[in-house]
């Protein structure tokens, strides 16, 4: 009945080769992950302790903990997203739901695409000019707000692009069905489009958390100090406008390259904490997204 011809045999062999080749490429991605994360965690583990997480640095960072840097990173991420998430989502709603194709939207879309490709150090220099000197929040000195705004400008185009994509994934028939029964654009957006794209929108925003937490160059220029201690372990001790802060990314750079007499394991420990912070935020976001997905209705 079904005898195997040479042609079929060859096809089947090619199928096996292709599968293993592509599978191998996919598996190769796992190797750097384990090497990076595994190596860092193993090297850094001896330095990580409760004191390391909750105390200020001492002796130029060689001793003590990194509490001030952890708090600073949270400050920067929080304020940055407080600006970029609402502005980015609203802009994307306008571009995807209201705007018609004309010269204005073409320029905005062009700006979004091109801004996303600007290197972060250039954003940093822009931030110095725009937020440190021109906006002058802190008498020409760096400040947390300037760093947060710089990062917000940097992440905005990506948030706009990902939000637009999430909105565009909602089928157009849903919108037409709403328009047909006399709903306004806003009623359509609020009742149908946003509830069905919110998980995608959040995904895009959340991905920017890790980027914001990890950036060094822009914040170094606009708001992060190498050494800015907190008086105690209180959380609200940085003033967002008149203070600079420490940040994990900057602290890691400083400890790894500038500080003296630092134990070998300390930079790895800082990197572990940085990865941990990002992972915790992502895990929280992903579980929230899974929850929203489970309520998705089509």
């Amino acid at each position: 009945m079904f005898t195997e011809t040479p042609f079929i045999r060859k096809k089947r062999r090619n199928e096996v080769i292709a599968k293993f080749f592509f599978g191998g490429m996919a598996a190769a991605m796992v190797i750097p992950l384990f090497l990076i994360v595994g190596y860092i965690v193993i090297q850094g583990w001896p330095s990580i302790s409760w004191e390391f997480l909750t105390e200020n640095p001492r002796s130029g960072g060689a001793k003590g903990g990194i509490w001030a840097a952890i708090v600073g990173t949270f400050y920067i991420v929080f304020f940055s997203l407080a600006f970029s998430a609402p502005i980015g989502v609203l802009a994307a709603v306008y571009l995807n739901e209201y705007a018609t194709e004309n010269w204005f939207t073409r320029i905005v879309n062009l700006a979004v695409i091109n801004l996303a490709g600007v290197p972060s150090i250039v954003h940093g220099l822009f931030g110095v000019g725009a937020f440190v000197y021109f906006a002058n929040f802190n008498n020409g000195k760096k400040s947390i707000i300037a760093a947060a705004l710089t990062l917000a400008v940097m992440t905005l185009p990506v948030i706009i692009a990902s939000t637009k994509e999430a909105l565009a994934a909602v089928p157009r028939q849903f919108r037409e069905a709403c328009w047909n029964v006399g709903a306004t654009r806003w009623q359509t957006i609020w009742k149908i489009v946003l509830p069905n794209s919110i998980s995608g929108i959040l995904t895009g925003v959340i991905l920017q958390v890790s980027r914001t937490a990890g950036e060094t160059a822009p914040v170094m220029l606009t708001g992060v100090a190498t050494y800015k201690l907190l008086d105690s372990t209180g959380l609200f001790l940085y003033h967002p406008i008149t203070d600079q802060c420490m940040a994990l990314s900057m602290h890691l750079y400083y400890i790894a390259t500038q500080a003296n007499n630092v134990p070998h394991s300390t930079p790895f420990a800082i990197a572990t904490v940085l990865i941990g912070v990002v992972l915790i935020v992502n895990a929280a976001a992903i579980s929230f997204r899974v929850y929203l997905r489970s309520r998705k209705k089509w």
Binding site: E101, Q173, F174, E176, C178, W179, V181, G182, K296, W298
Partner: protein
Amino acid sequence: MASNKKIEVHDLRTFYGAKEVHHGISFDIAPNEIFAIIGPAQSGKTTLLRAINRTLEFTAGSRMTGSIKVDGEDVQKTSNVYELRRKIGMVAPLPVGLPLTIYDNVAFAPRASGIKDKSFLDAHVEKCLRQAALWEEVKDRLDSLGTKLSGGQQQRLTIARALSHQPEILCLDEFSIAIDPVTTMRIEDVLKELKKEMTIILVTNLVQQARRLASRTMFLWNGDIIELDHNDVMFSDKTKDKRTYEYVNGIFG
């Protein structure tokens, strides 16, 4: 204006960009008639419906000239386009259950027009679902999702939603292409009932459906009206245009 014309279309031209869809068509639709529009694909049937309820403007680059009057009021000049759209119930070819519960699907339009009264909504949802011949099948699960219903049920849900804003005109755009013949017949019975209350525009690919239901039928082809007449003419050998006879009898080529 006590007119015997529910809809008056005069010299309608519609465009998508540079492409002209309708080449200046004029016709009237009387109140409480079932008016069928037949014609091959790309004839401008759907675009015509979209021009009447002004959802054509949601397509970038579209525009229209000429006039469409509903109850004597020019749709292009109306001050309340949402009111106009509520006057016209629209049923799309493929059923669109909104990603909401069955109840919310039907209550969507009344709520969008500002009605919040729970007891009114409850009674109204039941009435619309009954009119669409769906109530008996879903009355115990109004809180389950509209998108989980079968295709035929979703199409009746779509009809219930189109009736939910108490339209005076009901437009059905090839409503039966995604549903089985039994459901189609049930909906056709529903339409015969609804005819007492409203004007019905029936766009259909099924020539026999137009023959069964409509009092008059319009044959639209490439954006022109080939022929528009009462059904006893349109479906006979007395058609004025040979193409009508050929199309109706399936020998169009």
